[in-house]
């Protein structure tokens, strides 16, 4: 067992926890997106740590990191697109105000 791996994984776990907290507690769409970014950051650090300390010769690990980065970027991009559309129609991206569709 290596201290580095554990520490890195704990960092990932902490980022994940913070991200989850953010995603659940924020009222603003953009802030929720930040929470998601943090969750994905946790995933990134996990992946890199696993690659480095367990499977350094597997390039797929790095590849996965790239994919996760892509996911982060694309979600941001489309997220902002949706935010703009929402802003145009409603003037706000507050989630609490988005409760027209319900039972």
């Amino acid at each position: 067992m290596s201290v580095e791996l554990i520490w890195a994984l704990i960092t990932g776990a902490a980022l994940f926890g913070v991200g989850i907290y953010g995603a659940l507690s924020q009222t603003n769409l953009v802030m929720i997106m930040m929470g998601v970014e943090l969750i994905l950051a946790g995933a990134l650090i996990n992946l890199v740590a696993f690659w480095r300390y367990l499977h350094p010769d597997v390039a797929a690990g790095q590849m996965f990191v790239l994919i996760v980065m892509t996911v982060m970027a694309l979600e941001m991009a489309v997220g902002f697109g949706v935010a703009i559309a929402r802003f145009r129609s409603k003037g706000s991206v507050e989630m609490e105000e988005a409760a027209e569709l319900k039972e």
């Binding site: 996965f64 949706v82 988005a98 027209e100």
Partner: protein, 457 residues
């Protein structure tokens, strides 16, 4: 490599179709985009046929050309064509209608990729791609409802995708590979396998609208145009379910993955129908029904590896589901979104009445229609896998489902107080073609299920 490309030809054609449609849209030729899309998808379907019976992988095992993925193409591509007809009927003439076609084809591509995914990265990308297109489609009308639906959809999607990716990293840590086929290694650490699998269930469960990841679905379907809702309730869902089947194929049993699937199945079936029971809005009702139907799909997933019926049942039921659900939505498009609108339609328009009744009782699983054959196979598969109790719950839910679907049937044949003929219910040719095709398929799949079964095995 060339062989890989040949194996993936249908997907490539789909991609090219999307690009061609995009070009046509950019040239402000939505009609052309539409016809290009239809033609391209039809060609892709044709090109899938020679692959039947193939058992191979492409691109170093990252993509599987097997029964599931081939049949995903054969089911989802025609279903997409039908959806496109519906979309054309509803959104035709609006600005940037071609974008909708492009996005739809892209989502279909994503669903196909998911259904054949052999690599966790492809799974992630498939979910992402399907999601990205869906938000835009749901937000298409730009009304308050549509943007709200898109926003909720987006939040749900991004959070669940994040959790899923985070969980999947552990699989990489455990196996040292992103390939699904390497999951067998996890036999020694089932806890790790289980944790990763829950993450996958979260991601795919959201896509397939399984309880408890379904919350976006009713809102999104209600906010979106009906045709888009019809599309979203079928194609990405089937893709996600197939992806789940691909995942569990290599998952060691010790990870208790069957338990998770069973739990989610029970929740989905029961909650879906319970929630549908009180709906006044037919689209919402069908949304919840699609949640429940996703639960039924899991009966096939649970049997993967322990019953030869598993794949057959999944395929037959998804074909049936596609036919009847698209048909039902098509009729909703024609009649209206509320139960009020359905009053007396059965008497005024006998054909629409008959068609809707057929779709609904097929959804409820009454023979000899497609839904019955599908569910029957699913039940058989689950029983063979030793999940008789699950089948019992499914059967009890079938009774519940009947009550749900009768909620639509009953007003259709109830004489309304004022026998005014609602003139706004005009037959839209494209929609009529769709529900007619759905009707035909629903009946045919029920009667000639062997055609499917024979080709599957």
């Amino acid at each position: 490599m060339a062989n890989d490309l040949a194996l993936m030809l249908p997907e490539i054609i789909v991609l090219l179709t999307a690009i061609a449609a995009l070009v046509a849209e950019m040239l402000r030729q939505p009609r052309v985009a539409f016809f290009v899309s239809i033609t391209g998808l039809a060609v892709a379907t044709m090109l899938t046929l020679p692959l039947l019976g193939e058992q191979a992988t492409a691109f170093s095992d990252t993509f599987r050309i097997d029964t599931l993925s081939i049949w995903a193409k054969l089911i989802l591509l025609p279903a997409t064509i039908l959806s496109l007809l519906l979309v054309r009927a509803e959104l035709g003439g609006s600005a940037r209608e071609g974008t909708a076609y492009v996005l739809i084809i892209m989502i279909t591509l994503a669903s196909l990729i998911m259904a054949g995914a052999g690599d966790t990265m492809l799974l992630v990308l498939g979910i992402l791609l399907a999601g990205l297109g869906s938000f835009a489609l749901v937000a298409y009308p730009r009304t308050d409802a549509a943007t709200e639906a898109a926003m909720k959809y987006f939040v749900f999607a991004s959070v669940t995708a994040g959790v899923m990716i985070f969980g999947l990293t552990y699989w990489f840590g455990g196996t040292g590979s992103t390939l699904l086929s390497e999951l067998v290694i996890l036999e020694k650490s089932p806890a790790l396998a289980a944790i990763g699998f829950i993450a996958v269930v979260i991601g795919l469960g959201y896509k397939a609208a399984l309880v408890p990841f379904h919350f976006w679905a009713p809102d999104a379907y209600e906010g979106a145009p009906v045709s888009i809702a019809a599309y979203l309730s079928v194609i990405p869902k089937v893709g996600a379910i197939f992806a789940l089947a691909q995942v569990v194929r290599d998952l060691p049993v010790e990870s208790a993955w069957q338990w998770i699937i069973a739990a989610v199945a029970v929740l989905s079936m029961t909650y879906g129908y319970l929630a549908a029971l009180g709906q006044q809005n037919v689209v919402r009702l069908l949304a919840y029904s699609s949640v429940a139907q996703a639960g039924y799909f899991l009966l096939g997933v649970i049997a993967v590896g322990s019953s030869p019926l598993a794949f057959e049942s999944l395929i037959v039921f998804s074909a049936a589901y596609a036919a009847m659900n698209l048909g039902a939505f098509a009729i909703v498009m024609q009649v209206g979104r509320t139960l009020e609108a359905f009053k007396n339609t059965g008497r005024q328009f006998p054909m629409i009445g008959v068609a809707m009744v057929v779709f609904l009782i097929s959804l409820a699983g009454i023979p000899p229609l497609a839904g019955f054959v599908g569910k029957f196979l699913l039940f058989g598969a689950a029983m063979e896998a030793g999940f008789t109790w699950l089948v019992v719950i499914a059967i009890i839910n079938s009774v519940l489902s009947l009550a749900v679907y009768l909620r639509i049937v009953v007003p259709m044949y109830q004489p309304s107080e004022n026998e005014v003929i609602t003139t706004d219910t005009v037959t839209i040719p494209l929609v009529r073609q769709v529900w007619f095709a759905g009707l035909l398929l629903t009946v045919l799949i029920g009667l000639a299920a062997q055609f499917l079964l024979g080709s599957i095995s």
